[in-house]
């Protein structure tokens, strides 16, 4: 039995930590480096760093910035934003990323998932899936930080990502992201039933009970959250203490 991980998601623009609601209305949260130092001191399970503007602006990941962050992090680190090719991946791993997160690239050039898996192993490629509900109620994958729609079904996308060699799926409901209303349990369940790789639930956490539901009802192996940690007094450690009381195996 593996322990459920609580993963703070750090979204950034330049070197500023930001957070939005449904991938919009971005606000500054503070210094990214400061946040990293605090999470390192608190020994969180894992961190995810996502550069929200790199792909949109056609930029490569900022390797030097990641290098600086990684030097402060003695914990597992997943890095995403702006990854286009296998060389980007190699450089990110070289500066201290343990895993890379691909989102837009996994849709526009699915072959990259296979390439990464074959060269660096499946365990190091996380496919991030952002999706939105259309007016008819159908969920469709979106890319480029939610700016560009597609016709792809998120469950199908997760399945094909697994076939290509993805090691984990990070599943984010754009509609719920930043709202603190709770995770999309239904979709989390559908995706975790469809694949046999770990699924990280993301988007919507507002309290510890939401996390419990994502694990128990959604089948998530890990919980990613941002607003709850940025804007409330709730912490990853307390979250784990809560989950443990509810019978979920965590590292405390």
């Amino acid at each position: 039995m593996s322990k459920v991980r609580i993963i703070p998601t750090l979204l950034y623009k330049e070197s500023t930590l930001v957070k939005g609601v449904s991938f919009d209305s971005w606000r500054r949260v503070g210094s990214l480096m400061q946040a990293i130092k605090v999470y390192n001191m608190r020994e969180v399970d894992e961190l995810v760093f996502l550069d929200i503007k790199a792909t949109e602006e056609g930029r490569k990941p900022d390797f030097r910035l990641v290098d600086d962050f990684a030097d402060e992090c003695f914990m597992p680190l997943s890095v995403g934003g702006g990854i286009r090719d296998i060389e980007d991946v190699r450089l990110l791993l070289e500066v201290g990323a343990d895993k890379v997160v691909v989102n837009t690239a996994a849709v526009e050039n699915p072959g990259i998932v296979k390439q990464i898996a074959n060269k660096f192993g499946s365990q190091c490629v996380v496919v991030s899936i952002d999706y939105k509900y259309k007016t008819g109620g159908e969920a469709k994958v979106v890319v480029q930080s939610g700016k560009k729609g597609t016709d792809i079904d998120p469950v199908e996308h997760a399945r094909s990502a697994e076939k290509l060699g993805a090691g984990e799926i990070m599943l984010t409901s754009v509609d719920l992201d930043g709202t603190m209303k709770g995770y999309d349990i239904q979709m989390t369940r559908k995706v975790s039933d469809a694949v046999s790789i770990p699924v990280i639930a993301s988007g919507g956490a507002g309290n510890y009970e939401h996390m419990e539901k994502a694990v128990k009802d959604g089948g998530a192996s890990a919980i990613a959250a941002a607003s709850i940690f940025h804007f409330t007094e709730q912490t990853p450690l307390e979250a784990k203490q809560y989950l443990r009381k509810k019978g979920i195996s965590v590292r405390v």
Binding site: D45, D98, G121
Partner: protein, 205 residues
């Protein structure tokens, strides 16, 4: 202590470097024979695919160089993750590949049992070492370390298993004999417990 961290072009060498530094070692990232010969300790990290990694090892003659230091001269050796798996006789990731063969055994993919555990095994899990002195000094039995892998080492001789972890029926999370140690988890990413283990390796081996 001069710790040579072997770079064969596939790794997260930076985090290992920083961790060794924090643990009081004097690290150097290298694949150069001269540097490796001067080291008091050798660390073989690893992220990547077995077959690919062995190809790179051969390309830089690292199999020969390391054999001389670790097997002949008995320099303390720590293999991490894929670096641990490479010391097996063979691995099955992307075809069958001959490993360094320092500890007899095979590296095979996890088979998810009835409990439907997910593969890769990603996250923190318990390392049961039964009070193994030396490497685990100051680390409670069952302490969690960070894992991220789909394949695991099955040693032929069970006496080479130093610690186990309960996943997919249980597997060898640390193997070793004499001056050779391999950890399937990443001590450099395992915070306090990981640092203690690295410190023990540097100071006690």
């Amino acid at each position: 202590m001069r710790v040579a961290i072997i770079d064969y072009g596939l790794c997260n060498v930076d985090s290992v470097f920083r961790a060794v530094e924090e643990c009081g070692g004097n690290p150097i990232i290298t694949y150069n024979e001269k540097d490796i010969k001067q080291a008091t300790h050798i660390v073989l990290p690893g992220v990547g695919v077995y077959s690919n990694a062995m190809q790179n090892m051969h390309k830089h003659h690292l199999d020969e160089i390391l054999k001389e230091q670790v097997i002949m001269r008995k320099i303390p050796f720590l293999g991490i993750c894929l670096g641990m798996q490479l010391i097996a006789s063979k691995g099955y990731e992307v075809g069958e590949t001959k490993g360094l063969g320092w500890i007899e055994g095979e590296v095979v993919r996890f088979k998810s049992g009835k409990s439907r555990e997910r593969v890769p095994h990603v996250g923190w899990n318990e390392v049961r070492h039964n009070g193994n002195a030396g490497l685990f000094e100051g680390i409670p039995d069952g302490k969690e370390f960070y894992f991220v892998h789909s394949y695991h080492f099955v040693p032929k001789d069970r006496s080479h298993i130093i610690a186990t972890t309960p996943y997919c029926g249980g597997f060898a999370s640390v193997v070793g004999r004499e001056n050779i140690i391999g950890t399937q988890f990443h001590p450099e990413k395992s915070q306090k417990a990981g640092f203690r283990l690295l410190k023990n390796f540097i100071e006690k081996y």
